[in-house]
Each structure stands twice: as C-alpha cells, then as structure tokens.
Symmetry: C2
Subunit: 312 residues, 2 copies
C-alpha cells in the first residue's frame, strides 16, 4: 500500500458519498464532476471537486490514487478514455450498478490489469451531490469483484475502501452479481413502476385511499427516470430472466385466483421467503486472505453462501 489517496469521478449520490466517507476515514480524497453546479455544490461543502478531468486524473496518476468511477453507465466510455489517457496505471474500481458491462468496457479500453469491480448496495430515491452523505454505506453490502485474473493489490485497496466507508464486503464475480441484483434491485424498480401506474389507474379516489403498502411498494418509482434506465437497462439479459420468473409467478397466481378464488400458494411462498430474508445472517469470512492459494475462487464460493468480509 503505497498511498491511501482516492480519486472519485462523478460526485453524485454514490460517488459523492464515497468522497465524503473516504475523507471521513482519513483518505486524501478528491474528485471530478462534469456539471459546474455539482462542482460548486461539493466545493461549498468543503470538498476538493474539480471540473477539469485531465487535471484530476494527472493528480491521481502522480499520487497512485485508487480511481473510483461514479458516473452513470452512459458516461462510462468517455470517462474510460480519459483514464486511459491520463492515469492508465492507477488501480481502478467503480460503483456502477451492473458489473459485466462495466468490466467489458474496461477491458475494451485496455484498463483491465488494475481493475476490480465494485458496487455498494445503498441509495435513496434522491440523486446528486445534495443527496450524498458520509454514512450512506454504514452496514451496507459492498460487492467487490473476484473474477479470474483479479490482482491482489488493487483488490485489497478496493476492499479496504469499502470497509473504511462502513460497509461489509461481498465477494462476487461480475456475472453472478448481475443476476443477483436483477432480482433484488432491478426487478423491484420495474414492479414499483408498474404498481404506480396500475394504482393511479384507480384515479384520485384510489390514490387518496393509498396507505403504507402502496407508498412502500412504489417508493423507488420516485427515482429519476434517466437514473432508473441507466441502472436497469445495461442488465437487460439478467433482468429479463428475473422478470420472466416474476411474470410466471404472477400469471399462475392470477389463474389460480380466477379458478379457485385463492392466492394461498403465492402468499405462503412469499411470506416464507421474506422471512428467509429477514432472518438471513451474514457470516464472516475469516480464513481466506487475498493472495492465498485459490483465493479468488474460494472468496467467490464463500460469497455465494452468504459470507462477508468485515476485516482485512
């Protein structure tokens, strides 16, 4: 570990929160933001954020900073070109909500050698620097990539940053991450949008009667549409699989309700699985150190079984 510098590209909800949390944890942290308004807002809060990507990245190269890509998916290619030009040797991670497409882009830009995918599982329906907080990742799961070929040094720096931001590390390969988040993050968005539309189809009477179940079920539909698209659409293959599973369940339930006036099987299964979620205990991975024989494969397998890293 030569340095503990962190350079965050994109100071929105997630990137901004990384910048805040890393600063709080004692890192030398600075960042880039494309919009002038975002730069001004971050500076007004005392953070070192600049709109000059070349200058920001040259500083990262000089300091051997860990670069954290916090821009939305549509801006990824452009930011990778800049990194390739100004800081190609820096350890590199990202906090984007999908992992395989990011890894593919990183490799297209020949930046794979020092790259480790990341994804902190936290957020709100708000976005932008104004929504960022230093404790957004407190006790959150932070997925850290263990794909074949991952190097020990950048991996350790990414995992340590996640821990220093208050999260626990979930080791996972890109493809499995994407299939998992399709089910527990992207599908919830799609169902929330459909519920909002169907509920509003009942008019002001229905919306006026709506209480907790509708409010909670549609909460993430309040997220900015561009952001939801940027989160869900790059993961379309895995999302389609999850959506087809949900459609099958709902269609079966519908047919059963029409035929026998019962929703029993779906309700019993849903209750049981929600209980499984509520009672899930994360267990600590303590016996695998980065660089150990077969460490990537062993971490992957531990992560599949619900293991997390709390200390490095």
């Amino acid at each position: 570990m030569k340095t503990s510098a962190v350079c965050v590209l994109g100071a929105g909800l997630i990137g901004g929160s990384v910048l805040r949390a890393a600063t709080d944890a004692g890192y030398e942290a600075w960042g880039y933001n494309r919009s002038e308004a975002g730069v001004r807002a971050a500076r007004a809060d005392g953070f070192d954020v600049d709109g000059d990507i070349a200058a920001v990245l040259r500083r990262a190269a000089a300091a051997d900073a860990l670069i954290v890509i916090g821009v939305p998916m549509p801006a990824l290619d452009s930011i990778l070109s800049d990194i390739k030009e100004f800081a190609p040797g820096c350890p590199l991670t990202d906090v984007i909500s999908v992992k395989a497409p990011v890894a593919a882009a990183v490799h297209r830009h020949e930046l794979g050698a020092h790259y480790v995918g990341g994804h902190p599982m936290a957020g709100t329906s708000e976005s932008g620097w104004a929504a960022s907080t230093s404790d957004l990742f407190r006790d959150a799961a932070w997925a850290v990539g263990v794909d074949p070929g991952t190097q020990v040094e950048p991996w350790s720096r990414v995992a340590r940053l996640a821990l220093d931001c208050g999260a626990v590390v979930v080791p996972v390969i890109a493809a499995e991450h994407d299939r998992a988040v399709a089910r527990i993050s992207h599908l919830p968005h799609v169902l929330a949008e459909a519920l909002a539309v169907t509920g509003a189809g009942g008019g002001d009477l229905a919306l006026g009667l709506a209480a907790g179940s509708f409010r909670d079920g549609t909460r993430v539909a309040a997220t900015a549409p561009d952001l939801v698209r940027a989160i869900c659409e790059p993961n379309s293959a895995a999302l389609l699989e999850a959506l087809d599973d949900a459609l099958r369940l709902l269609t079966d339930a519908r047919d059963r309700l029409a035929a026998d006036h019962t929703l029993g099987p779906l309700i019993d299964a849903g209750y049981s699985e929600r209980d499984r979620y509520d009672t899930l205990r994360r267990w600590d991975i303590t016996d695998i150190r980065p660089g150990d024989h077969n460490w990537l494969e062993r971490l992957r397998e531990a992560g599949q079984r619900g293991g997390v890293i709390r200390v490095l």
Copy 2:
C-alpha cells in the same frame, strides 16, 4: 345522537386500535375477542374486552352502542348471526378491507337498515392486540360507505367515530371502494409476495446484497399469510382486474426490454404517477351535510374527485 358508546367485535390490530382510539376520544368503549389470549392481553392493558359475545352484544343493545365489526372476513357470518340475535337494532359498521362482500353478508342477515360500511386505510405487517395503537388512524383515510339507502343517523355516528380516531373520512360506495383498494392495497400485497419469491430465487448471495428497494418492495409480504388471504381473496374480481392491468404493463415492458433494451415508457409512466401520488392534495368537502338533498350521491361524487371530510 343518544349515546357515544362503541362496541368493538374483534380486538386485533385494527379493532384493537379502534378500541384504544375511541377510548382516548372519550367514548364509552368495550369489546369482544374470540381468543382468550387476546382477551387477557387487552384486559392487561386496562381495556374492557370479554369473550362472551352474548353479554357483549346485550350490553350494546342496551346502550344503543355503535357496533364495529373488526373480525376477519372468514369470521363475519358467525358474528353477524350473533348481532342479529342479540343486538339487531344497533347502528353497525365494520373495518374489514373489502366492502361489497361485507354489505352482501349484512343484508343476508337482514341487518342492512342500520349498516354503514367502513375501512380505515392503516395497518402494519404485525397483527393482533399487541400491535394495536391509539394513533394508528392519525391522518389516515377512513372510507365510509355512501351506498344508496344509507341512513343519516348511523352514517353520522360512523363518520364521527372515524374523525374522533384522528382519520379523515373518504365517502365512497362499496363497489368503487373495492376496485380502488384492489389497486392500492391488494395488488401491492401480490407484487410483494412475487418479489420476495423471485428475489430469494437468487439465493443467499442475492438476499445478502438486497437493500432498500427489495426491503420496501417486500415489506408487506411479512404479513401473516392467513391475514393476506382474508384481505385479498374476498375481492378477487376487482383484484383480477388490477392484476391483469399490471400483467399487461409488465409483459409490454418485458417485450420492449427484450426487443429494444429499453424500459423507458414504463419508467416514465411510473415516475409520473408516483409523482401524482406524492403531490395529491386532499381537498375538504365542506358544503354537503348528511341528510341534505341528494347527500349520498353528492358525497360519492366528491369522494371520487379526492374530497375528504375533516369536520362534521
């Protein structure tokens, strides 16, 4: 108004909360509960709850109490038989989540003359007396029936009880209520169950990565299965309509995602309708008094347009 006595049958989450709120508001309030455990729990908290339905209802008849049916749908017929036997002349309402099937049962038991349907839109995923609170209905919508033939005196007593419990009154006829709640209360339950099952299909890895969107989207799946069935299944016709609307939206979105990798139309619509919900302003109905010419039809029409009663 001869009296302000209230007799609550069923001291679970909703009935128990009515008993608490009515007591706090100064009503002489007592109740019945079938299970001995519920009776003991309510008594331990200082409430007058008894397991002898005949005695409880004879007291209601003597005091001209407003009877509030708070038992789940499957227990309705039995409790109506008891009311018919021991207190057939009392004003009668209920807090069951569906209105047309309750009204039909009430009329089968020839108790329609003094009946006014009710439904406070509040709850938690907990159930039973232990979950009841006196402020459950604070600022909640409380649907009060304005079906043709409704009498002024029982209507006013039901509406006043709702207001005294801290709620606002939404006037609505049974069929329209049932169609509305299918969309904003029963459909959310069905989607939550399907999300819980589909999410858990990703195993412990997926559940371990799950954050706010999954937690909120599945919250009501933690409700006891028997209760969810008792809430949703009696409203199967309206729920089927809402479910078919949602299935159509989701299938269209699925096909669009598969063909064009976009979820744009659904996401834009969902955002817009959630915003409509967030910015919905309840307006006060102030110019229609119970008993006025055409009052039932006028209240119904005002309720359809999002009007509520705050003062009687």
